[in-house]
Structures are given as structure tokens and as C-alpha cells.
Amino acid sequence: MISIELVKQLRRVSYWVVFGILAGVSGVVTVIIGLTSGGTPERIGTFGSVIPNSSGFTMAAIALNSLLLFLIPLAVAIFAGESVAGEASWGSLRYLLARPVSRKRVLTSKVVVAGVLALAAVCTVSVAGLVSGLAAFGWHPLSVIDLQHASPFASGVTTFSPLGALGRVGLATVVVTGTMISTFSFAILCSVVTDRPFSAVAGGVLLSFVSRALDDVPGLHALGPWLPITDKGASLWTAVFFQPTDLSSYPHLAAVQVAYAAAFLGAAWILFNRKDILS
């Protein structure tokens, strides 16, 4: 079931366009920065600062940082939102369910494939940033300034060897994917509810923006740690670029994401098992 679903989704031209856009934007950011301001420090999250032309590894982090606000959640919502609603919009969902396979297995395979594609989307961003960055600025050790701990007495600079930097970029990709779990699960739920893929994708993106907007409201600070995605939560991945690496906030992040995933995917599971499939 999973391989059938994967082959079906990988044959869709629109999915390759999504991957192409993600890789293309990462590459274009490298080109713009390389041509106009390679020596200007760029921010990574709230506290990190890197100089792009000092090492190609900076571009992987800059690409993740600049696409995390919109393009990455959009790509994740597209893969999750298209999963069931895409089938419904083609009118083939009823034939899919007519196969002698339980609805549970159908949904599971769709969610697994959408999850793999979402992970692939985030990897595309960091790999494209990495490749274009290494081509533009070279295989050099990566230096990151921790602005939170930089003072006149301590420079706050951490330097990673090229291989170490590669490992940190990998870790960052995993953490970024983790912060997308709530967006992904909500888009899956919307995809089960509606027959229109566009509505499901919009639902996923809307969740991430409503959450960030609520986080911006002074007076609602108490809500912050419990929202599905916030500016602070979405920049926690930058912690892997600092030494000593402070991972103390990760268990909470993981717990919140898992709780949202359980709620949204559980609701999707219940709805899909009982739904009258008319399309």
C-alpha cells in the first residue's frame, strides 16, 4: 500500500514543481547574497549570526531560516493537504476504498507517504542551500556568533570543522521538520474533512499563521509555549549551531508537537473511518 501510494504521488508533476521551487529559492537566495552582500552578517534565528562568504555551510542555515516562515510550511501543507482531498477532487477516492483493504490502512499509507514527502521537502531546502553555498563560498569551517552570549569579554564565536558543520546542518533539518508536525497534522485533518485540496492546504498554512499571530499579541504571552508554532519555537533549531549546545527546550517542543499530532491525526482517523465517501 505504501509503495503504491508513493509511486502514485511521485508521478505527479506538481509535486516535482514544489521540490523545484524550494531548491530554486534556496539557490536564488545564495546568488543574491553572493552577488550583493556576501560579507554582511546574516541572522540565523534570534541569536545566531554568520558571515555568508566565510563558509558554504552558512547558506544551508540561511536557506532554512528564510524559508521557515512561509515556503516550508506551505510545502508541508501541500503534501499533507493533497493526500486525501487530492484523491477526492479527482473523484477516485471511492474506487480507492473499493479495494479489499481497510480504510485504516489506506489512511496510514497516505499519511506515511505525505510525511516522507514533507521530510524530503525540508531536506531539499537544506541540501540546495548546502550545495549552492559550497559552490559559491567553499568547504570551510563554519563560525557562528552567539549574540545572546557575546559581550565585550567573550566573543561568543563557535567554530565547527566542515564535517561537524555538515552534521549540525543534518540535525537542524531534523529539528525544523519536527516543528512542522503540527502544521502537517492539521493539514491532514483538513484533507480528510474537505474535498478540495486548496482548502486543506490553506487550512494548514492558516494554522501556522494564526498561531504565530496569536503569539505576537502582548497579553497572551502565557499561551506562547502551548501554541503549535511560534517565532520562538520555530527558531529553536538554531540551538544546534551553538556550543555548548543547549537542548533543554527540545523535550517541551517535542511534547507539544506530539500532542497536536495526536489530536489532529486522531480526529482525522475517526472522521475518515466513519465518513460517507461520495467522491
Partner: protein, 280 residues
């Protein structure tokens, strides 16, 4: 024509729902501020402005405008603009609307006028309800605003704004934020003429603010080149009205940009709608 369109939009529950949510936002914000510590200093915007909500109810409209100008207000404006033409198309009644012995241009502009008035009402509702609710909760007193960009720990730059001046400042702020919605309105309205699905047009309007936020030199200094042409990056400049001296040097550029976006996209909407095959 305008009256007909106005009557139609005003009978829709959706219109009232959107406006009530906007008003409810002020109430929730005030309750949240009162419940979680109105005596604490709040940092508002990128200036930042420092103020204590309990000191005066006028802090509530400032906080409400700051926290809605980048997402919730654009969403409300896109809703009104995006629903206007595509809403009729989705009901299947657009062909009957244009079958009336009235030019398409007049149909389009009466829809635009009504959507624009509703959008303006949304912005005014937000600020008005925030002034009222904030005043009821914390009183209409002069508000001391600390300019976080020029203050040092020993020398806070406090600007005490009296009630009359405050109302004037707030009025200007509402006008500025309202003007900042022009680009969003025009894009959502243009998309509304091209699609039969209102959600697409609404999403397009919201996308304007999001794209603008992605290409913002405040967060990604390397793309300084495009920053000046993004429609919504400088929508927070009105916060400088509450500092002294008020640095508003970026405002004319921002307003000009809004006007350009508005003219271009409304022109496109007119061009498209007067030529399109109306099938819905």
C-alpha cells in the same frame, strides 16, 4: 448599484461574523491583559514602545493595532475584497448580476466601493472597540510611552501623551494602517475577479502580507534590494507617532507604494472583469 450591493452584503451573516470577531479581539485582548498582569511593561512593535496597560486604556488600541496589522486585519480585508466578485460567482449568480442593464464597470466599482467601506469599518471597529473596552477596563488617562530605541537604563525617554493628543495620534495611526491595507485589498479584489472560488482570492490577499514579510530586510539583511518594493514591510511606521521626535521619514514612500499597488491591481481587475467570459 452601490445601495443594492450594500444591501446584499449587509444581509450576509459572514459580514457580521467577521466584524464581530474583530471587535471580540479587543475584548479578549483587554481581558487577557487585565488577567495576566496589566501592571507589567509591554514591549510593543519593533521600536519598541514600552507602556504599562494599567496606566491608561489608550494602551489597548495601540497594542491591538500592532498585533493585528500583519495578519488578522489583512485577513479581514482580504475576506471582504475576495468575497465581492468571487462570492457571486460561487453562488452561480454572477451572470445574472452582469445581465442587468448596467455596464460591467459600474458593477465592478460598486462591488469595490462596498468591499472597501466594509474593510474600513473593520479597521475602525478594531480601534474603536479597543478604545472603548480599554477605557472601561483601565480608564481614559494620559499614557506615558517610553521610546525603547533611544532610552538607556538611566535615562528613559518618556513621552506623556494627553487624551486629546492621544485621540489625534490614534486617528492618524488608524488612517495609516488603513492605507496600508490598500495593496492587500487591491490584490484580493483582482483575484476575486479571476476565480470563482472566494477562498483563492482571500488566500491571495493574505499571501501579499506573507510574501512581504519573507522578503523583509529586518530579518534577512541580504535582500535589502527588494525591501523597498514590498507592499507591507513599513506598515509599523505609525508606531513612531508615539515617540518624540516622531521619525516618519519612511511614510511618504510607503503611502506612494500603496497607491501604486492599488492603481495597478484595481486597473488589472477592471481590465480583466470587463473582458472576461462570465460563465458562473
Amino acid at each position: 448599484m452601490i445601495a443594492v450591493e450594500w444591501y446584499k452584503q449587509f444581509r450576509r451573516p459572514k459580514t457580521y461574523a467577521a466584524l464581530s470577531i474583530v471587535a471580540a479581539f479587543s475584548v479578549i485582548l483587554t481581558v487577557a491583559l487585565a488577567a495576566t498582569g496589566s501592571g507589567q511593561t509591554e514591549f510593543v512593535g519593533d521600536v519598541p514602545l514600552l507602556m504599562t496597560p494599567r496606566a491608561s486604556g489608550f494602551s489597548v488600541p495601540i497594542i491591538a493595532l500592532s498585533s493585528t496589522m500583519k495578519f488578522f486585519l489583512p485577513l479581514a480585508v482580504s475576506l471582504f475584497a475576495g468575497e465581492s466578485v468571487a462570492g457571486d460567482a460561487s453562488w452561480g449568480s454572477l451572470r445574472y448580476v452582469v445581465a442587468r442593464p448596467v455596464s460591467r464597470g459600474r458593477v465592478l466599482w460598486s462591488k469595490a466601493a462596498v468591499a472597501a467601506v466594509l474593510s474600513a469599518i473593520a479597521v475602525l471597529t478594531l480601534a474603536g472597540s479597543a478604545v472603548v473596552v480599554g477605557g472601561v477596563a483601565f480608564g481614559w488617562h494620559p499614557l506615558g510611552v517610553v521610546d525603547g530605541s533611544t532610552s538607556t537604563p538611566g535615562h528613559p525617554q518618556v513621552d506623556v501623551i494627553h487624551v486629546g493628543a492621544m485621540l489625534g495620534h490614534l486617528g492618524l495611526s488608524v488612517l495609516y494602517v488603513g492605507a496600508g491595507m490598500l495593496s492587500i485589498f487591491a490584490v484580493a479584489f483582482f483575484l476575486s475577479t479571476t476565480t470563482r472560488r472566494p477562498l483563492v482570492a482571500v488566500a491571495g490577499g493574505v499571501a501579499v502580507t506573507i510574501v512581504s514579510r519573507v522578503f523583509n530586510a529586518d530579518y534577512l539583511p541580504g535582500i535589502q534590494v527588494v525591501n523597498g518594493y514590498m507592499p507591507n514591510n513599513d506598515i509599523d511606521l505609525w508606531q513612531h507617532l508615539f515617540t518624540r521626535p516622531a521619525d516618519l521619514s519612511g511614510a511618504p514612500h510607503f503611502l506612494l507604494l500603496q497607491a501604486v499597488y492599488f492603481v495597478v491591481f484595481m486597473g488589472l481587475a477592471h481590465w480583466w472583469f470587463t473582458r472576461k467570459d462570465v460563465l458562473d
